[in-house]
Amino acid sequence: MEEDKWLYEISSKKKLIDLNFKEIWRYRDLLFLFVKRDIVTVYKQTVLGPLWFFIQPLFTSVVFTLVFNNIANIDTGLVPAFLFNLSGITAWNYFKVCLTGTSNTFRSNAGIFGKVYFPRFIVPLSKVISNLFKFGIQLLILTGFYCYYVYLGHDITPSVLILLIPVYIFLLAIYGLGFGMVISTFTTKYRDLSILLGFATQLLMYLSAVPYPLSAIKEKQPEYSWIVEYNPLTQIIEGFRYILFGVSDTPFNWSTLGITAAIGIGIFFIGLILFNRTEKTFIDTV
């Protein structure tokens, strides 16, 4: 037998990016089962069950409409305020659940990770996919309200670019996954971050133009608006709303989408590198 034909080697050396697609493919059944587990078990033994998927975005949109549009008088243009908020929250929620779902990968799975080996990347990936399912449901409600408002006679039509919707979903996922993996890495050693994450996402939402259009902050706070404008998440949210409603004060442009995508992929790879470094020894520090 040849001396060097080893199936695998375990050593202390770490490759920078060690994403073994073949291995992930071999564990695809596990991925599927994790996704299924996440979806099936969340609302077991609840009365309303999957209805909770609807309730959260609807109520948040109602509150946002009350506070931001009725009280603070933020103008959402041709788009009805409620629909505007619902669309922003739907997109934002997907990012948020991807982020929080992956950010505690190591800590909440320490039990399993400490006992058996399987490609660790399966876990964050399964979170992104199972949340995609919830996002899909929420998108259905959004579509429902969309039709309702069109029926009421509001002048909104999706632009042709609606075909780009998978791209936007992908971007939300990749940002959530990338940041989530970075945070999951650091929380194994420094738990402060998981505490920080809760309100940081809350604050980040306000900086990502979720409850207001980008044009509103540009008009009212021109000196600080760059913080929001250069936030790639703002561009995703704004772009998402544009392709849905076909109207926006900040028109769609391809180069913004390109840059946003490039940054997202960059963050994803940084996350992946850190994730790879951590997955091998985190069990000793967690």
């Binding site: 037998m1 034909k5 080893w6 199936l7 695998y8 080697e9 375990i10 050593s11 202390s12 071999r26 564990y27 059944d29 596990l30 599927f32 089962l33 994790f34 587990r37 099936v40 078990t41 077991k44 033994q45 039990g111 399993i112 990770f113 400490g114 006992k115 058996v116 080996y117 399987f118 050693k189 420094y190 091998k280 020894t281 069990i283 000793d284 520090t285």
Partner: protein, 425 residues
């Protein structure tokens, strides 16, 4: 046949104490060394993994320079005390964590029966959990589907298989989990002492299954156990670990013997007692000098294998002539049952003049069952006075390792376990 697994110079370092304080400082220091191309400053220090004394260093080597090879189809037993590094080694082998230095090379997939029930979700039913757990352990859905009936049958949970596992008793959960793990078919199987799960009936089933796996199918197995009987029965080769290193390797019998001798260290004071004149038990006419237990080669031991004779050696001194003096001893097992008692009076002269007298009492081989025993020693003149009565002068351990014709590797029921011949006509 060929080398299927090769472990080269593997070491593993752990940090002691409160992990968290000062890590940032050490991390920065490490990083600073690494960008200048220097060695990790914390790798050079580190105490040997000896739990009996408190380590003075901040880092400890849980494993140090482990080197071994496993041939295809071999069943390697790994034995050692708690804390010898066995579990750490298995963790490295199953890729849960990576070694600090060194390299592990494998030609096959490794799966472990290290921990059962990994990833069980209480809300899922038994059947769903079989799929989930199987997939975590590396099986594909098709593989599990082809074995599911067998798994369910083996677990003995047919009735509850579509009930969420949170409604299971802990025993049922463990049985279901073991059933999944036992149906894995990796190239290299790592078995830790999971045997101690479930009731006696299930244990028997589990051990039988493990023997089938390791014997029948010609698979490579790494077997970690404290049970010398199962190691002897199952393994083709063994190694003994101590304080993070392999201290002995090769023949199973030799390893087991080495280990038992080593393990003896625990009961140093229990296998031999030597009294000083001032505090020796006794009276002005008769004192006890020393007692110890030896094997037939005269080595002082506290752990015996069931095929060894136990020589109880008692040294006494008579200071004034005594009449009708006798020594009695009782052997108690761990359940406080007197296994037997015996007395020297049939062998003693009625009158004993001053001098040193040694007694040797031989407990025959294949008599005692596995377990811990204590010796109560008493001296006196019946009906006149008692000289001393020591309720726990010595204790020793019996390890049952010779096959008794059954696959029963747990303790056989019964106070004694003599070798009984069966004749069948």
């Amino acid at each position: 046949m060929g080398v299927i697994l090769k472990v080269e110079n593997v070491s593993k370092q752990y940090r002691l104490g409160l992990v968290g304080t000062g890590t940032l400082k050490h991390d920065i220091n490490r990083w600073w060394h690494s960008i200048r191309g220097k060695e990790d400053p914390y790798l050079t220090i580190g105490a040997v993994n000896d739990r009996s004394s408190k380590a003075s260093e901040e880092y400890v080597w849980a494993l140090r320079d482990i080197d071994f090879e496993v041939q295809e189809g071999e069943i390697l037993g790994i034995i050692g005390k708690n804390g010898a590094g066995k579990s750490t080694l298995l963790k490295l082998l199953s890729q849960v964590t990576s070694p600090t230095t060194g390299m592990i090379k494998s030609k096959g997939r490794i799966a472990s029966l290290l921990e059962v029930g990994t990833g069980f979700h209480p809300e899922l039913t038994g059947r769903e959990n079989i799929y989930l757990n199987g997939a975590i352990l590396g099986m594909t859905k098709a593989e599990i589907a082809s074995k599911i009936d067998e798994i369910i049958k083996f677990s003995g949970c047919e009735m509850y298989i579509d009930t969420p596992t949170k409604r299971y008793s802990s025993g049922m959960t463990v049985r279901l989990a073991f059933a999944v793990a036992a149906h894995l078919e990796p190239d290299i199987l790592v078995i830790d002492e999971v045997l101690a799960v479930g009731d006696a009936e299930f244990q028997k089933k589990a051990i039988g299954k493990m023997q089938d796996i390791s014997k029948g199918e010609g698979r490579t197995v790494l077997f970690v156990s404290h049970n010398m009987a199962s190691v002897k029965q199952l393994c083709t080769r063994a190694m003994v670990m101590e304080n993070g290193s392999v201290v002995f390797g090769g023949n199973v019998d030799a390893c087991v013997e080495h280990y038992l001798k080593k393990e003896d260290k625990f009961s140093e004071e229990k296998k031999q007692v030597v009294w000083k004149k001032e505090d020796a038990p006794g009276t002005e006419d008769f004192v006890l000098r020393s007692v110890c237990t030896k094997n037939s080669d005269g080595e002082i031991l506290g752990s015996f294998i069931d095929n060894q004779r136990i020589h109880l050696h008692i040294e006494t001194e008579i200071l004034q002539t005594v009449y009708n003096m006798r020594l009695n001893f009782k052997l108690y097992n761990s359940k406080e049952i007197i296994v037997f008692s015996t007395s020297s009076h049939l062998f003693e002269a009625t009158e004993k003049t001053p001098g040193i007298y040694s007694y040797e009492v031989v407990i025959p081989e294949y008599l005692l069952n596995q377990g811990t025993y204590r010796i109560a020693l008493q001296a006196g003149m019946p009906g006149v006075r008692q000289i001393f009565h020591l309720t726990k002068v010595l204790s020793f351990n019996i390890e049952k390792i010779s096959a008794s014709g059954t696959t029963y590797t747990t303790v056989l029921p019964g106070v004694v376990a003599p070798k009984i011949d069966w004749k069948i006509f």
